[in-house]
Symmetry: C2
Subunit: 234 residues, 2 copies
DNA sequence: CGGCCGTTTGAGCTCTGTCAAACTCTGTGG
DNA sequence: CCACAGAGTTTGACAGAGCTCAAACGGCCG
């Protein structure tokens, strides 16, 4: 099955003005943004861009979930973050004028709007409020990265796995039965935590024995949130 | 000895216009920047700001070296980065309008210029080139943080220590005898690498046995750069 | 001189990564 | 409809990297 090819999609349904990032823009700028963008559907497993590639613009996600990964020397991938509706990706390399240093891969079928580099520059040069907003977004991401460095350097795998579950809860919410609304393989969880797949499996089943969670395949149901916080040592 | 109190210092010698970050500013903006700033000397060991404190501005380093650290739950500190002449610090929390999430501590006697928040905002709102430059600085820092996450999650302590030595070499150069021009305790090295002090000690002496480096107290002399790169797995 | 801080070394142990094998589940093709 | 391949999951056994604890040593400063 060919799943790497994006399909163009109806532009009308992907109005970007509803997203917080673009709130500082005036109607004329929004018009330009929507005129310049190109939206596409990406199937599960599709790669939006790869480490090392040159980018011609950044992307705003209007639907679906992607993982941003970085490949270590031994080929093992580290998940840097997940992105979903309203998030923007690929802006870092673009602004630094470097090749991409991460890869973006689709986890749940997604719609992405590509916004050309010159449009981004135009907005930054002409709308200081937008620049400030962009700065704040990057700063937030930087804070999260710094937090993560401290965690990964100092915490045990057990603590980090609990923390990742809590992070997923915050990012993707729970349904009415407290089940995480994102489906990840054990390997993906391991690549987030920075550990081996088998370690994740063992720890998850320990969490299950301890009545912290319940497992049904990839569905993870959170039973005891306070204890999970305690395990995460937060 | 009281070493935490900053001393005001001669403003004349700390002209900020020579730094790359402020290159996009026009003469009038530079004037304002220099008028608004307050420079102080900080002794070794002094804390410029602490995790959790509210900041009234950001700082530009015109002299000396500081470490930016983050304290884990168990009190162990993680060194996020080192900063030196020309670097700016504390801008992240300022822009996000949050309390500081890191602590800045002086390693080598330093002179810092404090630039008030409203001056930063003024510059961002009025000079798009400056905003773009700021964005690029944050983006670079973010890239480094992401690289570090991958390293720390996937590499061995041995590899990371070699990498840290190389990083220090790039940041602080070597003297004519290939000695690192920064003096760190073993504990500080451990807090960079994300490991125990004893592990750093053991590995350093292994590197010494392998003729990669030479040790005289805190002075580290690099003997075999290519092999060090190999050990770092870069 | 004494105390303190940083460094060094040794011993032991635990966490976690690796390897191997079995099992489940899904989609494919005969 | 069944057999099969392949991917993902699970479990067990094992080894070793790296952490902790303890003790001794050196240098520096008051």
């Amino acid at each position: 099955m060919m799943r790497s090819t994006p399909f163009n999609t109806n532009v009308e349904e992907n109005d970007l003005s509803k997203f917080k990032i673009f709130r500082p823009l005036n109607p004329q700028e929004l018009q330009r943004l929507n005129d310049d963008k190109t939206c596409s559907v990406y199937r599960k497993g599709a790669i939006v861009y790869r480490e090392g590639s040159r980018l011609t613009g950044f992307y705003c996600i209007t639907q679906g979930i992607l993982k941003i990964i970085k490949t270590g020397n031994d080929g093992k991938e580290q998940i840097i973050r997940f992105v979903k509706k309203g998030d923007i990706i690929a802006y870092r390399s673009l602004l630094s004028n470097e090749s991409a240093c991460t890869t973006a891969k689709v986890i749940e079928e997604a719609i992405l709007c590509h916004i050309p580099y010159h449009t981004l520059l135009y907005l930054i040069e002409n709308n200081p409020k937008f620049s400030l907003h962009m700065l704040q977004i990057v700063c937030r991401e930087l804070k999260e990265a710094n937090d993560y460095i401290t965690d990964i350097a100092q915490k045990t795998v057990r603590e980090r796995l609990a923390e990742v579950l809590l992070l997923l809860k915050d990012n993707f919410n729970l349904d009415s039965s407290n089940t995480l609304q994102i489906s990840l393989t054990r390997e993906e969880l391991a690549n987030m935590v920075g550990t081996a797949t088998e370690s994740v499996i063992r720890l998850l089943s320990e969490f299950k024995s301890d009545k912290l969670i319940e497992l049904q395949g990839r569905r993870i149901k959170i039973l005891d949130l306070p204890s999970l916080y305690k395990v995460a040592n937060l």
